[in-house]
């Protein structure tokens, strides 16, 4: 019987290794798998390359992971947010590097990685500083840039419901990057408010089929980043 459920967030991230590339779902706090990130802080892996739209807020979740010195490189589109103070310090002091990618290019590079596409052309960023180092090519009279697919050793995802085969449904705009990160992660780990038996989800409404998911863990009452920050929480 296929059962991808593990007993705890600690078990779920136990094998994340130093130097790993980790995609973390979420756009701001929506879809951010905070409990998995905190488990990763506890677990201790370091020298991580992290892919996320942002760099976290306050001193919980992704920001806490960066503050703990575990992230040697961020690949993201918008590292500057309200309440984002950790990353700027780490970036300016040279402890965390930054690869800045336009948001749509980032999402598509992740999908391409998951779909076995090593590279594709995009019109985004032609003629801008983010063209630097990229190959430009003309198709039908318009210029495009060659960008590469992104994959990751691990993807950490937060969802509303998952079954034990790993079939996932999300909540509203918390979906964002998670479906493509699930595709691009060699080991994709989903924390969900509810883990249900196989067969309880309608096959028509599953957003991420279980083939893209290796581990699921129930976090019945997940924290929201903004609420933690409002309470002045830090992690650990």
């Amino acid at each position: 019987m296929i059962n991808k459920e593990v007993g705890s967030v600690a078990d779920a991230v136990a094998d994340v290794f130093d130097g790993a590339t980790v995609m973390i779902g979420g756009f701001g706090e929506a879809g951010s798998p905070i409990e998995l990130i905190h488990a990763l802080i506890d677990q201790g892996a370091t020298d991580l390359t992290v892919v996320n739209n942002n760099t976290g807020s306050g001193e919980v979740g992704l920001a806490a992971l960066i503050k703990a010195g575990r992230v040697s490189k961020m690949i993201c589109s918008y590292p500057r947010s309200t309440n984002s103070t950790v990353f700027p310090d780490m970036y300016r002091s040279g402890r965390t590097a930054l690869e800045l990618v336009p948001q749509g290019t980032l999402a598509e590079r992740i999908r391409a990685g998951g779909a076995g596409i090593p590279a594709f052309y995009t019109p985004t960023a032609v003629g801008t500083p983010l063209e630097d180092g990229l190959e430009r090519r003309t198709f039908d009279g318009r210029d495009y840039l060659l960008v590469h697919g992104l994959t990751a050793d691990f993807a950490l995802i937060r969802a509303r419901v998952v079954d034990r085969h790993g079939n996932v449904v999300y909540n509203k705009t918390a979906r964002n990057y998670s479906p493509v990160m699930a595709m691009a992660g060699r080991t994709t780990i989903v924390q969900a408010t509810t883990v249900v038996d196989v067969g309880e989800l309608d096959p028509e409404v599953i957003v991420t089929p279980g083939i893209f998911v290796q581990r699921v863990v129930e976090v019945a009452d997940p924290a929201h980043e903004s609420e933690l920050i409002a309470m002045g929480a830090t992690y650990p």
Partner: protein, 217 residues
């Protein structure tokens, strides 16, 4: 300079822009003044708002206490959904943008060049944390790109210029600019004045523009 008493207010600029949003359009509004456009779309027009983080059919902010931290817009503010809304993932969201499916986006600007080049993501200041978000994708993909901006900076420097000195967001991408002083189209010859705000003379606008303005016929 003391321009504060002539020209449009921020809301009036948004209102003027809203007149040009066609009925039935799929529209993406940037953070700041562009967001205000939604409040001024004329009665009788139905517009569907897109937000980059995976929603078509975005509605106004929720009543206090009724929001969901997992229902937000690209500015990470809580929003609501209208009937007919749909959620989708980030790659599909930018497929809509890059694939030319959105009719209009409205963005802010640091500088706009007479060629339609836009700079709106970075002043290139040393030590600043670069952050681009979806701006480069929007200007590369959306059919019509509108810019709403003050005509000059707070220091009185022109924001409509011959060529941008700030890092670019896109090359030749802007279609129309709404400022406190004027509505200006980008045409082959440069900045074409479409209309001047009440009380604003052509010369007044020209003095505050870093490139030649083309008068109305």
């Amino acid at each position: 300079m003391s321009d504060s008493r002539i020209g449009l207010t921020r809301d009036e600029m948004a209102q003027r822009c809203a007149l040009d949003i066609p009925d039935g359009a799929y529209v993406n509004l940037g953070i700041g003044i562009p967001e205000r456009v939604a409040a001024f779309v004329p009665e009788g027009r139905e517009v569907i708002y897109h937000t980059e983080n995976g929603l078509l059919g975005m509605g106004p902010p929720p009543e206090p206490g009724e929001g969901d931290p997992e229902l937000i817009n690209a500015g990470k503010q809580q929003v609501t959904v209208k009937p007919g809304a749909a959620y989708f993932h980030h790659a599909d969201s930018f497929a809509m943008i890059r694939g030319g499916h959105l009719d209009v986006c409205v963005l802010g600007a640091l500088q706009v060049a007479q060629s339609g080049d836009l700079a709106n993501w970075s002043t290139g200041a040393p030590g600043a944390i670069p952050a681009v978000g979806g701006a480069m994708d929007l200007v590369a993909g959306v059919k019509t790109v509108y810019v709403i901006t003050q005509h000059t900076t707070r220091d009185g420097d022109a924001k409509l210029v011959e060529s941008c000195t700030f890092p670019l967001t896109g090359l030749g991408v802007v279609d129309r600019i709404y400022t406190d002083l004027a509505v200006i189209d980008i045409v082959d010859a440069g900045f074409q004045v479409v209309e001047l705000s009440p009380g604003v003379s052509f010369e007044y606008a020209q003095e505050r523009t870093g490139a030649e303005l083309i008068p109305r016929e």
